[in-house]
């Protein structure tokens, strides 16, 4: 607690351009760096998906007009090369999962909101935080470079299962492209760990006076659990990556055994490709919660604020986050029901997996009940939060199919899976991210985003997202395998060209819709209306900072916190919101009986606070 009592005089650290905007240790600047890098990656990842949707939706089209962009990756008759198609799919997945929805989402909002919402001057270690971004930047640069290799970027799927990813003779993407993928990922993990350790430490140690754990906004709870999941699971991916590097470069046989390829029997024996899958999914499954938990936190905050109502079941919301976080570590093998893993393990993982539906259902019910009898303001952030709940429901509920091993036999690796995870962790997480940007943009840049462009962006994206991913359920039930360049080789999979066309058109339109957001974002940074102090009439602490908070966030003392962040529409209160830093002694008209008791303690808090100050 020492951080908020020292130096009460101006916290602006005036530096030069380089220390202010590039190698900044200010969590707010680092958050913006993550956000802008993440947005750039999202556009690249989206563009890649549009390219492979062209192949799937318009299999007969001549794409030679894409020659300037794709060059040698087009075949002579203007088609996307099948191997490049796989590279597109692989890089789309890698970019979206790791670079956009992990770094772009957690990196942005954990960084931005943790100190502001818990009442801290900055992260526990500003320097580590800066390193976290620059490792991410290094990792991004390496991954980006791999897109331009003559042998192409990695092409073995974002899950990089060996032996395919271990053997350059199996697919050209497993040459230098895969090497760069692995190196990039190693740096990415370093970045993620530096970030997560910082988030955990900051939440535990740097909360302002009065900000007990039970008064934390749900955003902070979500970021906190996300960081813990990351710290525990990313090192396992690091191990998996390292062993794969050994197999590729140093002739070890961790994942390789009994392989005959290219007219040659390889000497490797005794390894197991299944070992890699266990290691990969030990991160890979928690990873989907790393992606979705921040969105759940962000939307909890936004839905409560804009419903002008306390979040329903705060304790249940925290409890379900915790429960999901714990369960996320014991369900990984549901990705492996049909890999030949011992069927008994399949039973255990079915049981554990389906249990996750309970906390997830509780969250959805609580969201809906929060809106019940609310007074809902449909800001763009609120619309995206509602959209997030809608997608989380739509995509999450199909988890009951694929989490059940017997049903998964048929659905595994079909478009049903593609629909499931894109809805529940792809689009839902994206919507959480959009909601967060629209909601906290005024705090980030001191200006408002244009609301009407926000509405247009929401509606086109919301409908577009459903048009892209909902039809995939039908295609998947019909058995269409994923990662197929074309289905025309099979009679069984020859139908549904109409749905595939629809999906592709929706994907293209939705992709270009995002430029409305990009425009709104850039335009509003410079020309948006200046933001009022508390534009959404929110209770959380970040709105007590000045419009353009400097490094250190609060020019004077950090406010003391007296109440939870969800005192919206409290009976008796003058306004329909009472921010966290308003003591109960100032709101006798709306206090509940037990809160009147707390008034006595308020003085004590202040005494402690003063005494602490004396020590410095």
């Amino acid at each position: 607690m020492e951080n908020h009592s020292h130096e009460d005089h101006g916290h602006e650290h005036h530096g030069n351009f380089w220390t202010t905007y590039i190698f900044s240790e200010d969590h707010k600047v680092i958050a913006k760096q993550f956000l802008i890098t993440g947005m750039a990656w999202a556009l690249i990842g989206g563009l890649l998906s549009v390219l492979f949707r062209l192949q799937l939706g318009f299999p007969d089209a001549n794409l030679s007009w894409l020659k300037p962009l794709l060059g040698g990756w087009l075949t002579a008759d203007g088609k996307i090369d099948p191997e490049f198609y796989l590279a597109l799919v692989t890089m789309h997945g890698t970019i979206m999962v790791f670079f956009v929805l992990t770094a772009g989402l957690s990196g942005t909002f954990s960084n931005f909101l943790i100190p502001l919402q818990i009442g801290a001057r900055d992260m526990a270690s500003g320097f580590m935080n800066m390193l976290s971004y620059w490792f991410f930047f290094l990792s991004s640069s390496i991954m980006f470079t791999s897109l331009f290799l003559s042998t192409g970027p990695a092409g073995g799927g974002w899950t990089i299962y060996p032996p395919l990813s271990a053997l350059p003779q199996a697919i050209s993407g497993s040459g230098l492209g895969m090497t760069l993928w692995l190196v990039s990922m190693a740096f990415f993990i370093v970045s993620s760990l530096l970030g997560s350790i910082n988030y955990i430490t900051t939440v535990i140690n740097l909360r302002t006076v009065g900000m007990s754990f039970t008064k934390l906004p749900l955003t902070i709870w979500a970021f906190f659990f996300t960081a813990i999941i990351g710290v525990l699971s990313f090192p396992v991916l690091f191990a998996a990556v390292l062993l794969l590097i050994f197999d590729r470069g140093f002739g070890t046989s961790f994942y390789l055994s009994d392989i005959y390829i290219g007219g040659e029997a390889l000497p490797n024996q005794g390894g197991s490709p299944i070992l890699f899958q266990h290691l990969f999914w030990f991160l890979g499954h928690p990873e989907v919660y790393i992606v979705i938990l921040p969105s759940l936190g962000i939307t909890s905050e936004i839905i409560s604020t804009n419903s002008r109502k306390p979040i329903f079941g705060y304790k249940a919301m925290v409890g379900s986050l915790l429960f999901i976080a714990i369960l996320s570590f014991v369900v990984w093998a549901h990705h492996m029901f049909v890999t030949g893993m011992n069927p008994f393990l399949g039973s255990i993982f079915t049981l554990l997996t389906l249990i996750i539906a309970i906390p997830s259902a509780v969250k959805i019910f609580n969201y809906v009940t929060t809106m019940w009898r609310g007074n809902i303001r449909f800001t763009p952030a609120m619309l995206f939060s509602i959209g997030m709940v809608s997608y989380f429901l739509t995509g999450g509920i199909t988890g009951l199919f694929v989490g059940n091993s017997a049903v998964d036999i048929q659905l595994h690796d079909t478009y049903f899976i593609v629909a499931h995870f894109h809805l529940v962790m792809g689009v839902a997480a994206f919507f959480g991210m959009f909601a967060g940007v629209y909601h906290w943009f005024p705090k980030m840049f001191g200006r408002m985003m244009n609301e009407k462009l926000g509405y247009i962006h929401f509606w086109l994206t919301f409908i577009g997202g459903y048009l892209i991913f909902f039809p995939m359920h039908y295609i998947g039930i019909a058995g269409f395998p994923r990662r197929y360049y074309t289905w025309t080789n099979f009679e069984t999979f020859s139908g549904f060209t109409d749905l595939n066309l629809l999906v592709s058109i929706a994907a293209i339109v939705t992709f270009f819709t995002q430029f409305i957001f990009v425009f709104n974002f850039i335009y509003s940074i410079f020309r948006g209306k200046l933001a009022p102090a508390n534009p959404w009439e929110s209770n959380a602490l970040e709105w007590t900072t000045p419009r353009f908070p400097g490094h250190g966030n609060w020019p004077g003392e950090i406010p003391t916190v007296y109440r939870w962040p969800y005192d919206y529409s409290k009976p008796g209160a003058k306004e329909d919101f009472i921010p966290q830093h308003i003591p109960y002694s100032e709101t006798p008209e709306s206090n509940l009986p037990h809160e009147n008791e707390l008034i006595k303690l308020e003085g004590m808090d202040a005494t402690i606070h003063v005494e602490e100050k004396k020590h410095h």
């Binding site: 009994d258 079941g313 030949g340 017997a406």
Partner: protein, 354 residues
């Protein structure tokens, strides 16, 4: 041409920017106070979205049911399909109820400055109810699921027909045990060469009558045990109509047992498609030709299956050169089992000498 398109795009973007600019200026000029109209529009749009979305979902799902509901042709497939549709019923009901509630609430509780939201922070009864209900429903799904899973993955019966599927970039091959011993011979990946694609170990007497097939023949109503291998990278056997899927993993044999219930002919009658064929696909990304690993599948009556089995030439008969790898004491047995003349080696040698 490209120039014109480019110019068009620039023009359209320019016009959109102008509209945006004018809209903003008008907003500033109007100095509007507390305008709730956009809030209402969004609330109504959400309601319309819910109604149209659910309507389309139900309409399409019923109207086009037959085009995505693959006919099922295996015993366990009936059980997994059953579980699939039970899950579907539960999820569709839950989805519909929550969807309607959510978008109904966003509509009727849209902002009204004369109204105040309820201060309703928790209710333990409600929370216990909606924790307990999913828990009970899930328990039922889990119990039913695990039973079906247990049946599917349990040991195959002793008289199951064993067939080996081998995946490689980018083709499948099937190996059948010959009718003489009904057992697959050993194999070893180090013995694989251009002709010996299975890596058959000819020191094992069970390998002599094994034969290769480029169609997966299956007997109707008999249990089949697929032994699944891969030579190079991971592949996955997917038999959509039989609800069968199992990865082919290099260095590790996997298996899947199932009982086909409809012959190809019967399926042709059922689907009304005279050209219907069962197919096998690969469902684990394996490289450039992943999408092309089609393998034909034919289901016939058991007696026809036996006839087909008996009519197949053993691999060794097709590759008599490999007799040289058969240990001397087994050469006669090998020739008999493979269907070669007893002194087949000399015969072949003389042929090759010509």
């Amino acid at each position: 041409m490209n120039m014109i398109i480019g110019l068009g795009v620039v023009l359209v973007i320019g016009i959109l920017l102008m509209i945006f600019r004018i809209g903003r200026l008008m907003d500033v000029a109007k100095e509007k106070k507390e305008d709730n109209s956009w809030n209402n529009i969004n609330a109504i749009l959400l309601l319309i979205f819910m109604i149209l979305g659910l309507g389309w979902f139900y309409y399409y799902s019923f109207k086009h049911f037959s085009s995505y509901d693959l006919p099922v042709a295996s015993e366990h497939g009936v059980a997994t399909d059953n579980l699939f549709w039970i899950t579907m019923a539960i999820t569709v009901v839950a989805f519909t109820v929550i969807f309607i509630a959510m978008f109904w609430f966003t509509y009727i509780y849209r902002y009204d400055k004369n109204r105040r939201a309820a201060f309703f922070a928790d209710n333990h009864y409600l929370e216990i109810i909606w924790t307990a209900i999913p828990a009970i429903v899930l328990a039922l799904l889990i119990i039913k699921g695990l039973r079906v899973w247990g049946d599917i993955t349990g040991p195959a019966s002793k008289d199951a027909y064993i067939i080996e599927m081998v995946g490689q970039q980018f083709a499948w091959t099937a190996r059948y045990p010959g009718v003489k011993d009904r057992e697959l011979g050993h194999q070893n990946y180090k013995l694989i060469d251009a002709s010996n694609e299975f890596g058959l170990d000819l020191t094992d007497k069970n390998s002599f009558d094994d034969f290769k097939s480029l169609t997966l023949y299956l007997p109707k109503g008999k249990e089949v045990l697929l032994k699944i291998r891969a030579k190079d990278v991971i592949h996955s056997v997917f038999l959509p109509h039989f609800r069968v899927k199992m990865d082919a993993v290099p260095g590790m044999e996997t298996q899947f047992k199932f009982t086909p219930t409809k012959t190809t002919e019967e399926m042709r009658t059922e689907t009304g498609n005279a050209n219907f064929n069962y197919e096998m696909a690969c469902t684990e990304l394996c490289g450039r030709g992943h999408f092309s690993m089609r393998f034909p599948v034919v289901v016939v009556e058991p007696d026809e299956y036996e006839k087909w089995m008996a009519a197949q030439e053993s691999w060794l008969k097709q590759n008599p050169d490999y007799m040289k790898y058969v240990p001397d004491n087994l050469k006669d047995a090998a020739a008999i089992k493979a269907g070669l003349p007893i002194n087949g080696i000399q015969a072949t040698n003389s042929v090759s000498l010509k």
